[in-house]
Symmetry: C2
Subunit: 202 residues, 2 copies
C-alpha cells in the first residue's frame, strides 16, 4: 500500500496530509485556471498518493464534506455577543468578509459540491440533517438565543433571509454592497434594531 | 445504459440531436444513481457521438448554459398579470412548482454548474452579465412594472429575497412549506398586500 518513492521524500504525518489535502481542495476551487476537481488532481496538488486519499476519505463527496466542516468551524469560531441580533450580525459579517475572497467563494462552492450527488435518492430527513450539519453555527446562535429567553426565527426563515443571499452571491460572483450588508439582511430578518427608525430596506 | 446498436440507426436532425442532448443532461442531473455529468456520459445517454457534442457546444459549460436558457424560457413563459405583485407571485409560483420536481432541482444545479469554472478570472461586469441572462424573466417583470409606473425593487433585492431562497432550497433539497410560500416571499419583498393586515412573516 505504500507508494513507490524513488527519491527520499519527507513522510507526512496524517495531520499534515489532511492539511495539505484540504489546502489543495481550496486552491483548486479558487484557481482561475479552473482545473477539474477530482481525487487525482487533488492528490497531485497536495503531493500525496491518490490511493491514500481514497483510503482515508472514500469519495470526493466525503472529502469535500470534511474540508467544509473543518474550514467553516475554523473560520467562524463565533463568540457569544450577548444577543441574537449581535450574534447574527457577527455571523453575517464573517460571511461577508469570507465571500469577498476567492477562497471564501471556493468554500461555498465546496459546500454545494459536497452535497451527495445522489441527493435525490435520500429521504428528506437525511437531506435536512446534512444541511443542519452545514448550518451548525446558525443552530448554535438559535440555541443561545432561546437559552437567553429570546425568540429566534425558525431555522428555515434564517436560511431564506440570511443564508441564501450569501450563497447566491457567492455562486454567481455578484459583489456585495460595499457597506452595511450584514445590517441590511439582519434588519430584514428581525425587523429594524431598537435604536433605528422604521425599516427602509432596499 | 443501452448497448451500442450496430444495426441501422435513424439519423437525427440537428434539432432532434439538441433535444436528445438537453434531455440527457436533465436525466443525468436528476438521476438518483448520480452518474458523473460529462460530455461522454451525456453523448452516451443521448445516443449521439460525443465528437458532435464538442463540435456543436465546445464545452460542458456552454452546453449547460444552452440547456438552462432553453428550458427556463420554455418552462416559464410568464404572461403579464397586470401588476408587479401578480407577476412576482406568478414567477415564485412557477419556481415553487418547478423545484418540487427532481427535474426542476436538476435545472437549478445545471444553472450553477453552467457558471464558467474560471468565473474568478472574469471581471465583475461579465459575471453580472452572465447572471442577468439567467435572470431574464425577473428583468422582464421589472421592466413591465416600470412601464406601468410601478416602482420595482432593485434587481439585487429581488435576488436576495425572492430568488436566493429557491436556489438554496433546491441545492440542499430542503422542502418548501406546503402552502403559501410564494406569497410569503413576495410579502417579505414588497410588504404585505393591500388586502392583508400587518406583516407577520415567519
Amino acid at each position: 500500500m505504500t507508494p513507490n518513492q524513488p527519491t527520499a521524500r519527507v513522510r507526512k504525518s496524517p495531520e499534515q496530509v489532511r492539511e495539505a489535502v484540504h489546502q489543495a481542495v481550496i486552491d483548486l476551487l479558487s484557481d482561475p485556471a479552473g482545473e477539474d476537481l477530482n481525487i487525482p488532481a487533488i492528490a497531485h496538488r497536495a503531493g500525496v498518493n491518490h490511493t491514500s486519499l481514497y483510503r482515508r476519505w472514500g469519495s470526493l463527496d466525503a472529502l469535500l464534506a470534511d474540508v467544509v466542516t473543518t474550514r467553516l468551524e475554523r473560520d467562524s469560531p463565533l463568540g457569544d455577543t450577548g444577543s441574537l441580533r449581535g450574534d447574527l450580525l457577527a455571523w453575517a459579517g464573517a460571511s461577508a468578509a469570507s465571500i469577498r475572497t476567492p477562497q471564501g467563494r471556493a468554500l461555498v462552492r465546496a459546500v454545494i459540491l459536497s452535497m451527495p450527488s445522489n441527493v435525490e435518492a435520500r429521504g428528506q430527513d437525511e437531506r435536512t440533517e446534512h444541511f443542519r450539519r452545514r448550518m451548525h453555527s446558525i443552530e448554535q446562535i438559535r440555541r443561545r438565543a432561546t437559552a437567553r429567553g429570546e425568540h429566534p426565527p425558525p431555522l428555515e426563515q434564517i436560511l431564506d433571509q440570511l443564508v441564501a443571499p450569501f450563497y447566491l452571491r457567492a455562486i454567481f460572483g455578484i459583489d456585495l454592497p460595499a457597506t452595511g450588508y450584514p445590517e441590511l439582511l439582519v434588519d430584514r430578518l428581525l425587523g429594524p434594531g431598537a435604536e433605528q427608525g422604521p425599516a427602509t430596506a432596499g
